[in-house]
């Protein structure tokens, strides 16, 4: 049944996937959240309305989102070298993963902020709150469930991105599935890795949903 399976390889691949996921999700949120907030605030009729800045940021985000991830992996090699000292392995995969996912997450954050009741922002303005006080005291707390839901979606998208990171030798479960399961017809390896990926995706969705429910007070 599991003739081709080397459980040590599977273990290592699982660990690689988890490290890539945690690292890239962390940095994507760190960069995407402020970017999403700025995208929102500079939008039309918003607190810090600024047409040119919004258009420029929005264009940059769209450019990054339209580049296929495999190409991003390769194009980014020089920058990745500069940032982490190598373009290979788990560490080499994280910068392109972040550059691929952060703009995506920024859009999800922007959407979550748009869902915040305009009246609530207006009430904060009427109290004499500054833009900064409104962002931290009202906007982000009100949008938190949406921001967390966006992080869940981003995490799951990152799981499938990590499968492609094998191109730079990053390893991971997706890489295992492609190299052994698909290219060498080792169906059992494919099945096991895909099941593990499924478990990961399910787990992320479950945890994300639970957190959103806990945070929602509506």
């Amino acid at each position: 049944m599991f003739a081709n399976i080397n459980w040590a390889d599977i273990g290592q691949a699982s660990l690689d996937t988890l490290v890539m996921l945690a690292g890239s999700l962390g940095f994507s949120v760190l960069l995407g959240l402020p970017l999403g907030v700025i995208l929102f605030l500079t939008g039309k009729g918003k607190l810090l309305e600024n047409g040119p800045a919004h258009a420029a940021l929005s264009f940059g985000v769209n450019v990054l989102r339209s580049v296929p991830f495999v190409i991003l992996l390769i194009v980014m090699i020089p920058l990745t070298m500069l940032l982490v000292g190598t373009s290979l392995g788990v560490a080499g995969a994280i910068p392109p993963l972040v550059v691929g996912a952060a703009p995506f997450y920024a859009r999800l954050v922007e959407t979550a902020l748009r869902e915040v009741d305009k009246g609530v922002i207006e009430a904060a303005q009427a109290m004499g709150a500054s833009p900064r006080q409104i962002v931290f005291g009202a906007l982000l707390p009100e949008a938190l469930p949406g921001i967390v839901a966006g992080a869940t979606v981003t995490a799951i998208a990152l799981v499938s991105y990590t499968a492609m990171a094998g191109v730079v030798g990053a390893g991971g479960l997706g890489d295992l599935a492609i190299r052994f399961g698909y290219q060498r017809f080792q169906t059992d390896v494919m099945v096991v890795t895909v099941l593990l990926l499924l478990a990961l995706v399910q787990g992320l969705q479950w945890a994300g949903d639970r957190l959103v429910i806990k945070l929602s007070r509506r």
Binding site: D117, G119, V120, E122, A123, A124, Q125, A126, M127, G128, A129, S130, Q133, G137, A138, P141, E142, L144, L215, R217, R218
Partner: protein, 323 residues
């Protein structure tokens, strides 16, 4: 306290101005009502007072400051002296009742140690002392508006702005919230500007009223005078909704208005008997304007000496008008 001097407001890309040449004064300590149909410009007017909108023409003075000329910091400082409540309450759904009331205190930089007791005192005042740790979604509409009021009062404002504050509430809850506003007006000397499309709200709490139609003030004055003797067609329509005296217009009918103690005296019966006039009451209402009792009857007088009857009614302090 608040003064509008020939104020106009035209929104970008709007065909007609939202407000046109509005001049009015709100005195310190009064409850001033603005009534008008939907789209008349009421919200625009009230939002000019705390600078949520800027005038396109004329001047708005709030507590001595020219709102249109303030910079961002000046505007924030002014807004901390002017509370505001809203039709849909606009509470932070992610925060508890206590945290909602604490927010404006944090915004104003009140020391942490003072916030807790202050919040407790505010919630006690609006009758929500036991709801501090609930979330807005767990409250009724009336309770949510009480939180809104506590929040608006947190920084001890001189002025409270109410944008359709009772329009989302049922009649009983509306009454309770209006009573609370009246109490706050009396106890704290709070100047209140409230806007509404319901004459009943004006009748219950306001001292003076301005009627807004298509962006212009068409009538203004003492609430009793405007309510009992509306001049403009729009005002009449708004009053008719409230008083139920609109429909029954019969040729030759008279509208009799009794105010104060006269409301409870048997004036009409006595005069009818003395002058040999028969009367039939077509419609009527006896109620109060704020605390003052009034009665308004639509009657037709037949037979006897109608002229003398009218004279004696007038002499007895009853206002007689052709309906």
């Amino acid at each position: 306290m608040i003064s509008f001097q020939s104020v106009g407001k035209t929104f970008a890309r709007a065909t007609a101005p939202a407000l046109h040449d509005v001049t009015l004064q709100v005195q310190a300590g009064e409850v001033f009502g603005v009534i008008g149909q939907s789209g008349a410009g009421k919200s625009t007017l009230i939002r000019l007072i705390n600078g949520l909108e800027r005038p396109s023409a004329g001047k708005v003075l709030t507590d001595g400051e020219d709102v249109g000329a303030l910079d961002a910091a000046g505007l924030r400082a002014l807004r901390r002296r002017v509370g505001m409540i809203f039709q849909h309450f606009n509470l932070l759904s992610s925060k508890t009742v206590a945290q909602n009331v604490a927010y404006p205190l944090k915004v104003a930089g009140v020391a942490k140690a003072q916030i807790g007791p202050k919040v407790e005192q505010l919630l006690e005042r609006v009758g929500l002392g036991d709801q501090a740790h609930k979330y807005p979604a767990q409250l009724s509409g009336g309770q949510k508006q009480r939180v809104g009021i506590a929040r608006a009062l947190a920084n001890g404002p001189k002025i409270l702005l109410c944008d359709e504050a009772t329009s989302a509430l049922d009649p009983q809850t509306t009454e309770q919230i209006l009573d609370l506003l009246s109490e706050l007006n009396r106890e704290l000397g709070l100047t209140i500007v409230l806007i509404t499309h319901e004459m009943e709200v004006i009748r219950r709490v306001c001292h003076r009223v301005a009627v807004l139609d298509a962006g212009s003030v068409v009538e203004s004055g003492d609430v009793a005078e405007v309510f009992l003797h509306p001049q403009h067609a729009v005002t009449r329509a708004l009053v008719a909704d409230a008083a139920g005296l609109g429909a029954a217009a019969t040729p030759g009918a008279l509208r009799l208005t009794f105010r104060g103690q006269a409301t409870y005296e048997p004036i009409l019966g006595r005069i009818a008997r003395d002058t040999g006039v028969d009367y039939s009451i077509l419609a009527g209402r006896i109620d109060r304007i704020r605390d003052e009792p009034y009665g308004q009857l639509l009657v037709s007088l037949v037979g006897g000496d109608v002229v003398a009857a009218r004279e004696r009614l007038s002499a007895a302090g009853v206002r007689v008008e052709e309906a």
